[in-house]
């Protein structure tokens, strides 16, 4: 019997999830399209006026990012739970927190990173000043991993339930509020030419905290859900 090192197990789970995501491309692309479409609804619903859009832009982009992350969250554990491979993974000698962390990273690479790449385009749609663009990218880079990490807890708690979808958003959205408040505010402050280092430090702190605690909670939740 071969023993696997923890880094190897981490990489194995990560590449496996990325491969699976590549095979099911529509599941990856749909939340991204959702993100774009939700954002384009606002100029049509509220007003195409540049001044109004500019004040709303940070909030709209961030709320849309939250919602599109919610759409893609279930993918993290659901199909593995249904075909039984999640149980097998948890039975392996690899610590479950490492497994969760690998799956979260895969989820972020597939759903968080694309948001980051497409966000500048949406910034242009919503007349966000160029000076705020870098801050928007920074907040997305720091904030979306937190969304994936905290979301992992929610998915782990609801994966065993038949209709977990609506419940998942009820559990997870209140926990997303600090990220939303600080990110949207940082972008708005940058648009006004104000310093944003404080907000970015806070987001970084949130990322560190959720990086260290969320995998533990998600692993414990998975163990409960599997029984």
């Amino acid at each position: 019997m071969r023993t696997f090192g923890i880094p190897r197990a981490f990489i194995a789970v990560l590449t496996r999830d990325l491969l699976l995501a590549l095979r099911r491309r529509s599941e990856v692309v749909n939340p991204l399209l959702f993100f774009v479409i939700v954002v384009t609804l606002f100029p049509l619903a509220v007003s195409p006026s540049q001044a109004i859009l500019q004040t709303l832009a940070p909030g709209i982009i961030w709320v849309a990012a939250l919602l599109s992350t919610l759409l893609s969250l279930e993918r993290m554990f659901r199909s593995d739970f249904e075909d039984g491979s999640l149980e097998q993974l948890l039975l392996s000698p690899c610590p479950p927190t490492v497994l969760v962390l690998a799956k979260v990273l895969a989820h972020w690479l597939v759903s968080g990173l694309p948001l980051l790449l497409i966000a500048p385009l949406l910034g242009v749609f919503l007349a966000l000043p160029v000076t705020a663009m870098a801050t928007l990218l920074f907040t997305l880079a720091l904030g979306t991993p937190v969304l994936s990490l905290v979301g992992a807890i929610g998915v782990a708690l609801t994966v065993g339930l038949r209709r977990g979808g609506a419940l998942l958003s009820l559990l997870v959205l209140p926990l997303y509020l600090p990220v939303l408040i600080f990110s949207a505010n940082a972008v708005a402050a940058a648009a006004d030419g104000l310093p944003v280092t404080g907000q970015l430090y806070f987001l970084g702190g949130l990322l560190l905290l959720s990086c260290s605690l969320a995998p533990l909670a998600a692993a414990a939740a998975l163990k409960i859900s599997i029984h």
Partner: protein, 246 residues
């Protein structure tokens, strides 16, 4: 000490103990409520700025305190249940959630009723009201997760994890909301700060807070008895208890 603890944590003993304690706790709650309401609504003088409308404080503030207190109790009991697999702790966590949600709702509604004469609108995105609203959402999440699963024990273990995650998040959410609120200070017309608290107001306030604590204990024991009956309906001690009409 451990002997006593184990005996107390056994469902059969707790069921009987709760049955005996409920009338006493209920009486005490009633007396404290009467004293607190009399002191707050009759004896305490009107506030020189807010007039009589400030009297809502005697229900609003204790409810807001209870909403946080019960969440912490729920998370602690849930954690104990998770670690030591104590059934009673799971039951207490599960039964606390609806009571906590009720208090949170009361704090919100009375805050709104107080805000109308003070601010001129039913709702203001004031830091305290906003935090309380989010706390209500957190309670709803725990309650929804509890009732979602088919197996009661799995559901209560899952909701215990959610409650623990929530307890870590509450200070962060609270801080975020406070910070957000100071940036948008324009939204609040006047702060709903404590109106220069005087002993004639403080004493009834504390009595009401105590009454709410005892109310929680009463309601918790009543709910815990039902929950124990439901979860353990096949065990022998329940047959015995029902035969003796306990």
């Amino acid at each position: 000490m451990w002997y006593w603890f184990h005996r107390f944590a056994s469902p059969a003993y707790f069921y009987r103990f709760a049955g005996k304690a409920i009338p006493w706790l209920a009486t005490l709650t009633g007396l404290l409520l009467l004293a607190g309401l009399y002191g707050g609504l009759v004896l305490a003088p009107a506030d020189y700025q807010q007039g009589d409308s400030y009297r809502i404080i005697f229900i609003h503030v204790p409810s807001a305190w209870m909403s946080l207190f019960i969440y912490v109790v729920m998370a602690t009991a849930g954690g104990i249940g998770l670690i030591w697999h104590i059934k009673l702790a799971e039951v207490i966590a599960a039964c606390s959630a609806p009571i906590g949600a009720s208090f949170t709702f009361i704090a919100l509604a009375t805050g709104s009723l107080w805000g109308k004469p003070m601010w001129g609108t039913w709702w203001v995105w004031d830091a305290r009201l906003t935090s309380e609203l989010i706390l209500l959402f957190l309670y709803f999440g725990v309650i929804a997760l509890q009732s979602a699963g088919e197996d009661k024990r799995t559901a209560s273990r899952a909701s215990a994890i959610l409650a623990l995650v929530g307890v870590i998040n509450i200070p962060i959410i609270h801080f975020s909301v406070e910070w957000w609120n100071t940036l948008h200070q324009g939204a609040t017309v006047s702060k709903m700060g404590a109106p220069s608290i005087h002993t004639s107001m403080l004493v009834p306030l504390l009595i009401m807070a105590l009454a709410c604590k005892f109310y929680y204990a009463t309601s918790l024991l009543m709910r815990a008895r039902v929950e124990l009956l439901e979860r353990e309906h096949n065990s022998n001690w329940i047959r015995e208890a029902l035969k003796n009409h306990e």
